[in-house]
């Protein structure tokens, strides 16, 4: 039996790890802002953040292609900065993944921050904690279940992406050839055994990460 090339699997995991890290860092302030703001533009921002949930990945991919291409706003800036194009590159995939998985990280965080509420933050301030200090010592640890959910969802959602990758990443081995693209290729060439194997790895991975999330969630709740 022919073993499938495992490089796409590792590339996918690398992408998911980097994208999730960026998502947590970027998502935290936005989720906090959404959870605490009383400005009237809040629903507008919420709707924008939620867009990737309902849009077909090809639509996101299409606009990202325009935005990231060497002629696009972000793409041309990137070319000037690094001398390389964003489209059909790993960096481009990271940017695309962050946008594509954004709601899956921001929404659980926002929900978690909303349950922290302003009361405990006020208590922290009266005890001498500056805003950032209070945020990291009270809000973040209290939102740890939200962080767990956000991490797992952001990671898993990035793992499974296909449409966006196809539009802007293409199929360059070691650069943009992710596991979902590899599976598609194998099926196209009727290499069902290899497709099976990669698909099975992906299913196991997804299942284990979901299971981990629910087990940890259950544990922290029953503490």
């Amino acid at each position: 039996m022919l073993l499938p090339d495992l490089a796409p699997l590792f590339l996918t995991i690398k992408l998911a790890v980097i994208a999730t890290l960026i998502l947590i860092v970027l998502g935290t302030p936005i989720a906090w802002w959404l959870a605490t703001t009383r400005l009237k533009i809040k629903p507008l921002v919420e709707a924008l953040v939620a867009l990737p949930i309902v849009l077909p990945p090809t639509v996101i991919g299409f606009y990202l292609l325009i935005l990231l291409s060497p002629q696009g706003t972000l793409g041309s800036f990137w070319v000037e900065l690094t001398g390389q194009a964003l489209t059909f590159s790993f960096s481009g995939l990271v940017i695309a993944s962050v946008i594509y998985s954004f709601p899956f990280v921001v929404q659980p965080l926002q929900g978690a921050f909303e349950t922290v509420g302003k009361d405990l933050m006020e208590a922290a301030h009266t005890l001498g904690a500056k805003p950032l200090d209070a945020f990291f010592s009270v809000a973040v640890p209290m939102a740890k279940r939200g962080y767990l959910t956000a991490t797992v969802l952001g990671f898993a959602h990035t793992l499974g992406e296909f449409g966006v990758v196809l539009m802007i990443g293409g199929n360059i081995p070691g650069e943009t050839r992710l596991i979902s693209i590899a599976i598609y290729d194998h099926v196209e060439s009727l290499e069902y055994a290899q497709a099976h194997m990669l698909s099975f790895i992906l299913i196991s991975f997804a299942f284990v990460s979901m299971l981990m999330m629910y087990v940890l969630n259950y544990k922290s709740r029953s503490q």
Partner: protein
């Protein structure tokens, strides 16, 4: 050194407007009394810096907390705030909660820590999580947490409102002890006259966002202008000193600040200062001095005024020397005795509620 501590603030919230100006005492308990919606909590939050849209001026210990140009944020005001609902951090143990403020104010003193744990009786709770504590325990921990950071002012927002009577009775003695030990001002918000008369040295009464009364506790509870008088639980407070101890009968003779002699239960150290509370319901009147009464405290008094009249009862204001007492008697007795203003009568005091040292 004497500081002038003043608070003069204005804030509008929805349909409500708070506009108050008062002096913050250098020490002792200032009670903020009022019905719900009178602005008590808002006022306390203004003092703490938790209200954003407040205007005015707050000066405390030579620091400007609030003026036209700036508002110092709560973490820089060095206050202790006790919330109605404790607000302990649920993800930390009791000890971690206690250390939270200490670490941030750099006041890690072993000795004062131990005595405070003892005072509030929380030494056995340190490893517990807040969720496993009773309401009274939570509030005691919250008080310790606020005090451990060595605040310059303690703000208490109805610390007992969320507790049932049993837990209130459990925590009140701790608050009374605090009152005696602390040398910082405490601002205590409540709508319970009972708590006020037990803890406060001065009372400020709020109504619809305005100060309608502000005076010492003895006056606040006894003077005819005071809005606190016309309540069911009318009570007066007298400050007194132990002058003689009667070991044989387990009594102490005390003399109030205006020179009235009274006998109270218990043997107290001579010279000790006590706060006495006398409820209007515990006083009866006679026109002549009863010769054979079981009541120990029978004093000549002058009838000053009828403070309140209901269908069946009258609330009378009486002067014993310069001490003012209130008596609630039935309207029928009032008529039968033909009591008149300025009349000399005798008051019989059935019960005196004692409280520990007055600072």
């Amino acid at each position: 050194m004497a500081h002038t501590n003043t608070c003069s603030v204005e804030i509008s919230k929805d349909l409500f407007q708070l506009q108050v100006s008062f002096e913050i005492p250098a020490k002792g308990v200032l009670g903020i009394f009022g019905h719900s919606g009178s602005g008590k909590t808002t006022l306390l939050r203004c003092l703490a810096g938790l209200e954003k849209k407040v205007k005015g001026q707050i000066l405390f210990n030579d620091q400007i907390w609030l003026d036209k140009r700036k508002s110092i944020s709560p973490q820089l005001r060095n206050i202790g705030y006790i919330f109605q609902d404790s607000r302990l951090f649920p993800h930390m143990t009791v000890l971690q909660n206690l250390e939270y403020g200490m670490k941030r104010s750099g006041s890690l003193h072993e000795s004062s820590q131990q005595s405070l744990f003892q005072l509030l009786n929380i030494g056995g709770l340190l490893e517990r999580m807040p969720d496993s504590l009773s309401g009274g325990e939570k509030q005691r921990v919250a008080i310790a947490r606020a005090l451990l950071k060595k605040p310059q002012m303690l703000l208490m927002d109805e610390p007992m409102a969320s507790l049932d009577q049993a837990h209130k009775n459990e925590i009140l003695p701790y608050l009374e002890r605090l009152h005696d030990r602390l040398s910082i001002p405490i601002v205590y918000v409540s709508h319970s006259l009972d708590e006020m008369s037990r803890l406060c040295d001065r009372i400020l009464v709020l109504k619809s966002g305005r100060v309608i009364f502000n005076d010492e506790i003895t006056k606040a509870l006894s003077s005819a202008e005071s809005p606190l008088l016309k309540t069911k639980s009318a009570v007066v407070v007298l400050n007194a000193k132990v002058s003689h101890v009667d070991l044989e009968f387990g009594l102490s003779a005390v003399i109030t600040d205006s020179g009235t002699l009274l006998q109270v239960k218990g043997t107290h150290r001579k010279g000790r200062r006590l706060r006495l509370r006398v409820s209007a319901a515990d006083i009866s009147l006679c026109k002549s001095k009863p010769a054979d009464s079981s009541i120990l405290n029978i004093l000549p008094a002058k009838l000053l005024a009828v403070v309140e009249e209901t269908h069946s009862e009258v609330l009378l204001q009486l002067a014993v020397n310069d001490d003012i007492l209130l008596a609630r008697i039935s309207k029928k007795s009032f008529k039968l005795l033909e009591l008149k203003f300025d009349m000399d009568v005798f008051v019989q005091i059935k019960g005196i509620i004692l409280q520990s040292d007055v600072s």
